[in-house]
Symmetry: C2
Subunit: 405 residues, 2 copies
């Protein structure tokens, strides 16, 4: 008998019929003798509907109220699934963030989990209850509802699995696993049977939508085995786990892209200490995440600083940067919202030379201009013009022979 956490996304609980499928899947595992904790997202489209309502009520909604509003989406799905499981003759109980308690900090809309009380869930599991926990939401120490940011239900699931010492955290989604590239734009994409936490983390960070990066960080930290599966088929699946001897150490395990990128260049910045801090502190204060940062070598006491942010934050970021640019005497600020980021990922990279060179030459061969480059131990990312995204993914997939398992 194992303790299993199963997380289902919005498309898996989009209506009562789909929830009945989820219920059957839950019961299959339950009847195999497992203890089950189910974590749910809101019905597909519901969170967007609530967000629209919030923005109709106020252009810049107060974040406390916003979180209390949008968290109702998960309250709906967990109560409905519990009703369905009850009707099917099983003991099931919904628990909201404040009922579990999933205690977070006070950063509304992007809260971080401090701790999870295991007592209430333990009590219910002992009674044989299927515990259905609302994903995406938590509660601060004063009882205010918080949410964990887009895709936060993955984080809820992994955090619960870690706190409850679950044997596995199964993430059910609309694809049947993790692929070497997005199958919708790369015909030859191949599903991976296993992938390491580090690779998965870089894939997720680099734009693969299958798991929220924070959930992978958590899984790695607490060594929670995460099994990515389709909620519509029993086939396939990818296990995200510790790197081990069995694992095929591929040089490159996947190619990803992220279209949600915008590039800002501050031109001719006087190169003196504290300039970067002056530029990035206001962005941090406004909770704008900066992704890649590149600073050119200084020339005659001046330098150019280029960085990327999420496309939807470009307006605010531009405003803030213009202000600092004026203060520090930079020549001008240039913005390009028409870019995307292509990345190749693989733990094998560390011990193989020539990977970067191969990436750059493959892109060059297709006529794709590289605008920015950044590298980590197991990842190389290039910012390119958005229109080349699909071409670049396929070219790199071919170059590294990812279709061959």
């Amino acid at each position: 008998m194992a303790l299993v956490v199963q997380k289902y996304g919005g498309t898996s609980v989009a209506d009562i019929g789909k929830m009945e499928n989820v219920a059957r899947r839950v019961l299959k595992s339950k009847e195999a003798g497992n203890d089950i904790i189910v974590v749910l997202s809101a019905m597909a489209g519901e969170t967007d509907r609530l967000i629209q309502l919030a923005h109709k009520a106020a252009e810049e909604p107060d974040e406390r109220e916003y979180d209390a509003l949008i968290s109702t989406g998960e309250q709906l799905t967990v109560t409905l699934l519990s009703l369905i499981l009850n009707r099917m003759g099983f003991r099931a109980k919904s628990l909201l963030g404040y009922q579990v308690k999933i205690v977070t900090d006070k950063s509304y809309t992007k809260a971080r989990i401090f701790r999870i009380d295991t007592k209430r869930i333990d009590e219910e599991l002992k009674k044989g209850t299927i515990v259905v926990v609302a994903g995406f939401q938590g509660v601060d120490k004063d009882g205010n509802i918080t949410t964990l940011g887009r895709g936060g239900s993955d984080t809820s699931a992994v955090a619960l699995a870690a706190a409850m010492k679950a044997d596995v955290c199964e993430i059910y989604t609309d694809v049947d696993g993790v692929y070497t590239a997005d199958p919708s734009i790369c015909r030859k994409a191949r599903r991976l049977n296993r992938i390491s936490y580090d690779e998965m983390l870089e894939l997720a960070r680099a734009g693969a939508k299958v798991l929220q990066p924070r959930s992978v960080e958590l899984a790695k930290k607490y060594e929670v085995p995460v099994y990515v599966r389709s909620s519509f088929t029993d086939e396939g699946g990818t296990l995200v786990t510790k790197e081990d001897v069995e694992m095929e150490k591929e040089v490159v395990c996947g190619v990803t892209y992220d279209r949600d990128q915008a590039k800002i260049t501050v031109v001719r910045v006087p190169d003196r200490p504290g300039i970067a801090a002056g530029l990035f502190t206001p962005l941090a204060q406004h909770n704008i995440m900066v992704d890649m940062i590149i600073q050119n070598a200084s020339l005659e006491g001046y330098t150019d600083l280029t960085f990327t942010v999420s496309r939807k934050e470009i307006k605010k970021a531009h405003e803030l940067v213009e202000e600092v640019a004026r203060e520090i005497g930079a020549a001008r600020v240039e913005v390009d919202a028409d870019v995307s980021k292509i990345s190749i990922i693989g733990v094998g990279m560390i011990s193989h030379s020539g990977v970067a060179a191969k990436m750059f030459s493959s892109l060059a061969k297709e006529g794709v201009n590289i605008l920015m480059i950044s590298t980590s131990e197991i990842k190389i990312s290039c910012v390119i013009q958005a229109k080349y995204t699909e071409l670049a993914v396929s070219a790199l997939h071919d170059a590294f022979e990812l279709d061959k398992g």
Copy 2:
């Protein structure tokens, strides 16, 4: 400076535009220097939508999950109104049942309030916050969400007014006060400026939809002045208050009807002690409220027992009664779901004779057959065939000259 509780019903918060009207009304009172606690229902239609979802998920939904599901309706309206008030430049904060805390018993779907913590609201009012409380919902001592039954937001509002020692509890609805009869079926109906708690209570119990009976009971118990007003106009209004010398002691203050009635007769019941208990205990155990009960004089050791229940509970009630009827050897059970209850109410009745006679003769004159009669100190009710409802209301309104103020 006064402390005012304002409660708005579902039609007053049906969409963002209507909520903006509510916000303006709230701010008018706030800017007059009052401290404001707003209590809201769900958007008109939302609770029904959620109830339908619940019944789609399970024919007989588990009540704990049901309450957690339908309570999201009020979570939506309180957060949206807070967003609107914030956007208009005012400090406003939503509080859910568990955040206030509004502690109830564990009777899901019809919970009763044990106590209301005033600390959190007090703190917020001191900061100048407009406190927006979710009506209809509470929390039991174990943190489970409960709801107070249909129209429970009135009860939430009055209970909050009592706990916070508010100066007045304003109930905003889609009519501009309490009338001598339902204006939609009685052309001559007249709005009352004042009405006593007792009369309001009987009116509400006898079917007037304007206030939930429990809220009036609470208002009477804690002497909370309740002001019934329209959320769409500044005109009119009815003050529900203690009976006092100023109050016009009308013999009859209003005529009401209740179409949600069904009649069950148990024919030829052996007349021995414990029979009534045997009949009504199973109904009570299934939370079926019995309204009028009439037992005929015993004849040759047998009697007939007739009583009314809510029309929507007739099926379940019939099943339960059939079972008991067999056990106790009654001849048969007759059911009539096509009846309604007409009542006249007035504190002046106690000291006036002939009120009942006048009621019966007025109905007789119109050819309306009386099926059941029950009387209290300030109310006389008759069950009649449903098709005569409007005729009976108008006839009684005329007979007691209720159009004359």
